[in-house]
C-alpha cells in the first residue's frame, strides 16, 4: 500500500520549484488532487509522447532540476523510482523533439531535456557517494572501476582503466601487455612528436600570457578606478606592476594607483 502511495506522488513528478512557507496550503491541495488523478496513465506506447493537451502548447512551464542536497534526503527506493520517472520523461522529451523536427515545428521549452539530464546526473552522483562510503568503510577501497594515471607509449599522460579477467596476470597468455611495462618508447619518431607537442603547448601558454598581459594593459588604460585586488584575482598570471610601467597602459588621466 505504501509503495502505491509513493508511486502516486512520484508518478508524474520530475522537477521542482522551491517555494516559501506560504505555499504549503496550495502544496497540500496538489497532493490530494494527485490521488484523484483524472488523466489516465496510459500503459502503452503513447507514454512516449506528452499528454495530448500539451501538443499545441508553445510554452510548457516546468520547474527546475533536482539539486544534490534535495536528493541526499531521499531513500534509495525513492531515488530508484525517481530515476525511472526521469528516464521516461527524458524518452518522452526526445520523442517529442524528434517529432517536432520531423514535422518542422518548434519544440517548446528544450531546456526541459537539460533539466532532466542534470537531475539524472545528480541522482547518479548521490548513489555513487553512498556506495563509495559503504565500500570505503568495509573494504578500504572505492568499489568503482579503478583508474590509473599512466604515461603511454608516446609520453602522453593517460588514464588506464583495468579490465576484469578470470585468470591472473601471470597465467593470462592472451592479454597483450600494453604500455604499462614498456612505458615511453625512445625512438626518433616519438622524440620528434614530443618536441613538436611541447613546442605547441609552450606556444599556447605564451600566447595566453601575452593575451592576458595585453588585456590588463588595456584595462589599466581605460579604467582609472580599477581595483587592483579584483584585477589580480581575475588575471593571477599577469605581473600587474610591470603592466603599469608600460606605455600601452598609460591612460588620459592621472593614475590613482
Amino acid at each position: 500500500m505504501n509503495t502505491v502511495i509513493i508511486k502516486n506522488i512520484f508518478r508524474s513528478t520530475t522537477t521542482l520549484c522551491m517555494r516559501s512557507q506560504k505555499s504549503i496550503n496550495t502544496a497540500a491541495a496538489c497532493i490530494v488532487k494527485r490521488d484523484f488523478h483524472t488523466t489516465k496513465p496510459t500503459q502503452d506506447l503513447m507514454e512516449f509522447f506528452d499528454a495530448k493537451k500539451n501538443w499545441p502548447e508553445t510554452n510548457i512551464r516546468v520547474g527546475r532540476a533536482w539539486k544534490l542536497d534535495e536528493l541526499r534526503l531521499k531513500s534509495n527506493t525513492d531515488l530508484h523510482k525517481l530515476w525511472y520517472v526521469l528516464l521516461k520523461e527524458r524518452n518522452m522529451l526526445y520523442t517529442m523533439e524528434h517529432e517536432c523536427n520531423e514535422r518542422v515545428r518548434l519544440f517548446p521549452n528544450p531546456e526541459r531535456i537539460d533539466k532532466v539530464e542534470e537531475s539524472m546526473n545528480n541522482i547518479e552522483s548521490v548513489i555513487r557517494e553512498r556506495n563509495i562510503a559503504y565500500y570505503k568503510l568495509e573494504t578500504g577501497e572505492t568499489g568503482e572501476r579503478p583508474v590509473k594515471d599512466v604515461i603511454n607509449l608516446i609520453g602522453m599522460p593517460e588514464k588506464y582503466q583495468p579490465s576484469e579477467y578470470d585468470t591472473p596476470k601471470f597465467m593470462n597468455t592472451r592479454w597483450v601487455r600494453p604500455y604499462l611495462k614498456h612505458g615511453f618508447i625512445n625512438s626518433l619518431a616519438v622524440k620528434k612528436f614530443r618536441r613538436l607537442y611541447n613546442e605547441k603547448i609552450h606556444s599556447e601558454v605564451r600566447k595566453a600570457h601575452n593575451r592576458d598581459f595585453n588585456h590588463v594593459q588595456h584595462l589599466l588604460k581605460r579604467f582609472p578606478n580599477l581595483d587592483m585586488d579584483t584585477l589580480k584575482a581575475e588575471y593571477p598570471n599577469v605581473d600587474i606592476e610591470k603592466a603599469k610601467r608600460t606605455k600601452k597602459s598609460r591612460g588620459h588621466f592621472m593614475p590613482t594607483y
Binding site: L16, R19, T26, S75, E138, R222, L226
Partner: protein
Amino acid sequence: MRIYGYLAKKVGDLTIKYSNFPESYVKKSYEQVYWKTPAGYPQYKKAQVARKKYRFTTNRPWTGQFRQQNEPGTLRKKVFVEPIRDWTFFRGDRVEVMVGKDKGKQGIVSQVIQERNWVIVEGLNTHLRVVGKDKNFPGITIQSEAPLLVTSDVKLVDPESLKATDVEWRYTEEGDKVRVSLASSRIIPIPKTAEETIDYKSKELYIDNIEKDTTADAATKITFAPKLRTFEMDIMEEMGIKEDRVPAKSYWY
C-alpha cells in the same frame, strides 16, 4: 584547436538566474561550435572549433536577436569590461543617474546586463528612435532607455536620506552579506523584484505544473535512513530479491 574552458566565464550569474534555465542550456543556446573532433576515437583528442568572442548586448544570449548580432563571420571591435568582484546592482534597486541629460534623477533598475556592467533604469537616459519609416508612413517613435555603466554612471540610493551613495558589501552579526551605504552605514536591502525570472515574478507566486512538478513538501521530505548497505543491496532487500550466488574470483589489470 579551441579549449572548452573559454566559454566558462562569459555569461553573468544574474543572467542565468534571471533566465531560470540550467547553466548548460544557456551555454548551448548561444555557443557556435563549427566542428568537433569525432568522438569515440582515442587517437583524436577532444577539441572543437568554436566562436570565442561574442558581442554581448541588451538582447539576452538565448534570443534570436543575439544570434543575429553574433552571426558566424561577424567580427566586432573588442569591448573592454571592467572586472567587478561583488556585483552590487539588482532589479528593482533605486538608483541615481550621475551622467547624461537625466543627471541627478532617481529611477528603478529594470534590467541588469552583467556581461557589459550595464543597468537599464526605467524611463531615464532615454532617446527616441523611429521605427518603420517609409515614404508614405512617418514611422512610429519609440522612447527607449540606453544602458548605464554600473561603475561610473549610476549610484545606489540610500533608503532613508534618498541621496546617492557608494556601497560596500559587509557581513552582519548573523553572518549575512549585505550592502552597506558608506555615507550613513545604513543597510540597503536587496529588493524583492531581484528574484524575478522569466517564468515567475516571485517564488511564492509560482504555480506548480501539477502533472510535472514535485511540490516543495514532497521534495524536502526526508525519507533517507542511513543503513550499512549499498544502493543495490538496499533495493534488493526492499524488493525481496535474494541473491545467494557468490561471484567467481576475478582479477583486475
